[in-house]
């Protein structure tokens, strides 16, 4: 690593339970990393105080605060324009939190904030599978379903900073009720880890005559990991869960493609471990629903970034766009 004028960034990924952070150089190498709890601080200021204390030794070792260009933050319901986190249901701090301001005040560094999926898209564009792409859609398939949309080389933040909530678009009108939003038939209700779990429990209940490895567990014990493990062992019901999930995701992607005509759709997160179990139906039904002018053009790619690093990398990448 060059020691002359090192330009470093700090990436902070605020999740519902833990917050990951790291010091990242311009090549996307994480030089230092750590984790603190997101839940044990009464105020966001106290939370940032602890984060600062935790990072200080590493900042000093890297050459002091002058070696840093800024701080990037990924957070649920993060608003890029205002640097605020607004009514994030899974964080302990309620209302509108001026997180970028709090961070800037504590660290004396400029800070940029966006939602976690947008941060992942920026990371993918700078260091991952979307290098060199000007038009792509990133879909994160984790506990929830997030998205980041890049068009003309820039993230779409929209009028108010909240663009790209594709997990909440309605794919099946009148369909499954979402446990959090109450909406019926949203993408997240089916293609998140929770959605996969619900589907598995439904299939097991509705096909009582059929054997399955998953019958070794109580319904409430079943989760996306168990479904995956059963599927790779050839379990029919578990495989059908992926076929069903993949069909819904594929049809949703067709709609997204007809919106922004991306070069690629990049899938990220726990569910992508299923590989072709998921990708095959996704591709089939995406192509089926596309207008002919869009067919066989869109790359369907699984993220190249290590899942544990992506959010921190993506958040830190926001630093290079700071003015």
């Amino acid at each position: 690593m060059s020691t002359i004028n090192p330009q470093l960034g700090i990436g902070i990924d605020i999740g519902g339970t833990t917050t990951k952070y790291g010091i990242v150089n311009h090549r996307g190498e994480i030089l230092y990393r750590g984790v603190i709890s997101s839940r044990k601080h009464g105020t966001p200021e106290a939370f940032i105080d602890e984060l600062y204390e935790a990072l200080l030794p590493a900042i000093d070792e890297a050459g002091g605060i002058a070696a840093f260009r800024g701080i990037g933050i990924g957070a649920p319901n993060g608003n890029y324009y205002t640097g605020t986190i607004e009514d994030a249901p899974n964080l302990v701090w309620k209302g509108k939190i001026h997180m970028a301001d709090i961070v800037t005040k504590k660290f004396a560094l400029p800070a940029a904030l966006t939602n976690d999926a947008n941060a992942a898209a920026v990371g993918e564009m700078m260091y991952g599978a979307a290098r060199g792409m000007k038009d792509f859609i990133m879909i994160t398939l984790g506990t929830g379903v997030g998205s980041g949309i890049v068009a003309n080389g820039h993230l779409i933040y929209g009028h108010d900073g909240f663009a790209g909530e594709l997990g909440h678009t309605i794919i099946i009108p009148g369909g499954r009720k979402h446990w959090g939003t109450g909406a019926h038939g949203s993408l997240e209700a089916y293609t998140s880890a929770t959605g996969v779990t619900v589907t598995a429990r439904e299939f097991l209940e509705n096909r009582p005559e059929e054997d399955s490895l998953l019958r070794a567990y109580k319904p409430e014990e079943i989760d996306a990991r168990l479904v995956y493990e059963a599927a790779v062992k050839g379990d029919k019901i578990a495989n059908d869960v992926y076929a069903f999930t993949g069909e819904i995701l594929g049809r949703a992607l067709a709609n997204f493609v007809m919106f922004s005509s991306p070069e690629a759709v990049i899938l990220f997160g726990g569910l992508t471990k299923a590989g072709d179990l998921l990708l095959k139906p996704v591709r089939k039904y995406m192509e089926e629903d596309l207008l002919p002018i869009f067919r066989n053009k869109v790359k369907l790619i699984i993220s190249e970034l290590k899942e544990s690093d992506a959010a921190v990398l993506g958040a830190s990448a926001l630093v290079w766009e700071l003015k």
Copy 2:
């Protein structure tokens, strides 16, 4: 009008039956306008030859070709990147037509081409309801349903130049079969003039006991205009057609809003004449399907541009973006 260095543009709107054209100044005033057939020329070159002959006197009167900055063209399946029209089902010329090149060769002026809905969005941004907006979605509700999406102040063309085919997104999986594409449940199958007509015929057939002004016509005589006329006279079935159409459009718009979070959705075209008959259900169901962070933020606006002028204005507006 200033006579010093006048900067003029030519706008050409190629439709399935006729082609409208006009000479437009930078303020969006159409100084000259005309129409020729789109159907009677064996080659696109012969078509442009006639267009050139028709425009030549007006070009000379405006100060000759030197007074013109360029030519903008709106056309079905128009590709901005390549300047081509590709497999447009309702044009007489088949395959890939290098229309921008043909125009440039004939007129010795730079030419830009995009699809008709994108051209309308550019016109709306420069001269209409979207002046000053950086993020909006234009939906054209005519014989078909088209769209133009502006984000960060620029039209989204996508990777291949075909972005923004929102009329072909699937809103009701397994729903009504589209007469042209064969897809089931696309927005255009319901919210185009043809879609409204089909809905009206279905309602009349499925509710045989119910009286309606539309029963004065044979099913094959019914069109969107008759439905409109019956609806404003208070006809129940005709009003239900708008309620149904508006619900589907509103739910679709909710999905589009969660994609790009626009400041406004601008509706354009024949169907918008219905005013509140359409807008009320559109707004109701759009808001219902939106995540709370998007609610009561998005303006729903009917285009300010005269329908007969908008396509020519929009096409001409492409000229001001020519490099």
